[in-house]
């Protein structure tokens, strides 16, 4: 479903070159969930933003659903991949009601948008239909993140990118959102790329994971290997010890 070959990302600022992602390659099968873990600044979010098309300074090749996508996406590439962001307070427009927020993707792509589609989308993420009339600030963090998930799924993308979707939520709400994401993946046969610094969450959600450090992919393992603690590198062992205590 996703094929990433040798992507590099350089950031230039004030004559100082930062090599944020160093020749990273991986692939994700249809219906699979790939986790990307690493400490902050390791380049995992940059990889995700390159996949999404938000980061345009990459070189290499990215293939999705059997076709190559460029740095700047064409309009018909957009429904291939959508993203759920980390901060549920920043990813919904504060002046748009929930109904409006959910219609926006459809209107932007020139598809029909009516209250019924919005209602179905809300129910699909476990929220009541009447939430369509509310503003984001009238919802809790978990509810907002559900709305963000509903919005990401409206264009029926085969691929969903998740950028630490639960790290800003309370622990009890985290589990609910993770369960929702797992259920949606099964129902809609979605392919996930899940970025997190929390190995526990990755172990629960993903089939396979890659570990990144300083922009390099240093280890690739299956979730079983993670649970069995069969890691190859010292760095991955450190990460494991930190997260499972």
């Amino acid at each position: 479903m996703i094929k990433v070959r040798n992507i590099d990302v350089h950031f230039q600022a004030h004559h100082h070159d930062k090599h944020a992602v160093k020749s990273v390659s991986f692939s994700v099968a249809r219906g699979e969930c790939l986790g990307i873990v690493g400490e902050s600044g390791c380049g995992k979010s940059t990889v995700l933003r390159s996949l999404a098309g938000l980061e345009t300074h990459w070189t290499g090749t990215i293939g999705m659903a059997g076709r190559q996508v460029g740095q700047k996406r064409r309009r018909d590439d957009l429904p291939l991949v959508q993203m759920v962001f980390q901060d549920p307070y920043g990813s919904l427009h504060p002046r748009h009601r929930i109904g409006r927020a959910l219609k926006e993707p459809l209107i932007s792509m020139g598809r029909t948008a009516d209250d019924d589609i919005v209602g179905v989308a809300l129910e699909g993420v476990g929220l009541p239909r009447h939430f369509a009339g509310r503003f984001p600030h009238q919802l809790s963090g978990g509810q907002r993140q559900r709305v963000a998930i509903a919005r990401a799924l409206l264009l029926k993308p085969p691929i969903v990118l998740l950028d630490e979707p639960t790290s800003a939520l309370d622990v009890s709400v985290q589990a609910e959102v993770l369960n929702l994401l797992s259920a949606l993946r099964r129902e809609m046969e979605l392919t996930y790329v899940f970025v997190s610094h929390d190995l526990g969450v990755i172990g629960q959600m993903c089939d396979r994971l890659i570990v990144m450090r300083d922009g390099e992919l240093i280890e690739e393992m299956t979730a079983d290997e993670l649970r069995g603690r069969r890691v190859k590198t010292e760095y991955a062992r450190e990460l494991l010890e930190k997260s499972f205590i």
Binding site: A52, G53, L54, R75, L78, V81, Q82, M83, F85, Q86, D87, G90, S91, L92, H93, P94, R95, E104, P105, S108, M109, G126, L127, P128, H130, G133, R134, F135, H137, Q138, L139, S140, G142, Q143, R146, A148, R151, A152, L154, L155, V173, E176, N179, L180, A183
Partner: protein, 296 residues
């Protein structure tokens, strides 16, 4: 799967909720100074609308047998050097002041907002060109520009309004640009890019609404200086022309009689001070209410 339990909190209301705007604006009731400013402005606006009914005398009729009367029962604010009732002139002058303010606000608000948001959104060369242009306009003194306009178009209220508008939009544009630079990095804008929202859609429906509160605050605060500039132009004879009862022009004519009849200059001075102060108080309060970064 059920929704979070937290949703049964104080926000669970069956009716549609009022907008954020209304909620925020209603907080002005708890701010005595801002409320006072708002009430004073409402009072002046009413006076402007009802000027023909409220004014006890005709503002332009001269009564040469009755010049420079001190404030008293017949003429509450006295009469000027031509025997015209100052209170009536002030009441009619309210109309001129409000017409100036509203016109200027309607020109510089949208103009500054559009230029600033486009500059901040596009960035790069567009930003550089628009901001350097803004800098050039910002370095024009409005009084000098009005002088040249008056020379070219003839002195009058319209000329004054054009001159003030042309020189006061840059501050709004800079504010809107700064605001846009923050908003365009927001995740909801990134999400909108992913689902293909067009540039126009992003600018007008996503970014601009976020800039409007601070633009309104800045406009309200700018109105105080607009009134002062308009009065200054009137004082120099470049604004509204006699016999129209513009407050600045009234001070100008009263200047000559300052020692014998202080009220001719002081009464319009009080009016300018009051409206200008009311705008400042309202603007400060609106900033406290609408802009969380200025929370005390």
């Amino acid at each position: 799967m059920t929704a979070d339990n937290t949703m049964a909190g104080p926000i669970a209301v069956s009716q549609p909720e009022p907008g954020i705007w209304r909620e925020r604006l209603l907080r002005i009731v708890d701010e005595p100074l801002g409320l006072a400013g708002l009430l004073v402005l409402c009072l002046f606006a009413t006076v402007a609308v009802l000027a023909p009914i409220l004014a006890p005398y005709d503002p332009t009729v001269q009564d040469l047998g009755n010049i420079m009367q001190a404030p008293g029962a017949a003429h509450w604010a006295g009469t000027d050097e031509l025997g015209r009732d100052i209170l009536s002139r002030l009441i009619w002058g309210t109309r001129i002041t409000f017409r100036t303010i509203l016109t200027v606000a309607l020109i510089i608000g949208p103009l500054g907002l559009v230029i600033g948001v486009i500059s901040g959104y596009c960035g790069g060369k567009v930003d550089t060109v628009l901001m350097r242009f803004t800098d050039i306009v910002l370095s024009f003194p409005s009084l000098v520009l009005a002088l040249s306009f008056a020379a070219a178009l003839g002195a009058g209220l319209g000329t004054a309004i054009i001159a003030i508008s042309l020189t006061s939009w840059p501050s709004i544009a800079r504010l809107a640009r700064a605001e846009t630079l923050t908003v365009r990095r927001a995740e909801y804008v990134a999400a909108a890019r992913l689902y293909g929202a067009s540039h126009l859609r992003l600018i007008f429906l996503y970014i601009m609404p976020m800039c409007i509160p601070s633009v309104i605050v800045r406009l309200t605060l700018a109105m105080a200086s607009v009134i002062l500039t308009a009065a200054g132009l009137g004082f120099l004879g470049l604004g509204a022309q006699p016999p129209s009862p513009e407050w600045g022009a009234m001070i100008s004519s009263g200047r000559k009689y300052m020692l014998d009849a202080w009220w001719i200059a002081v009464m319009p001075g009080i009016a300018i001070l009051t409206v200008s102060l009311a705008f400042n108080l309202l603007g400060d309060t609106l900033r406290d209410i609408l802009d969380p970064r200025h929370a005390r």
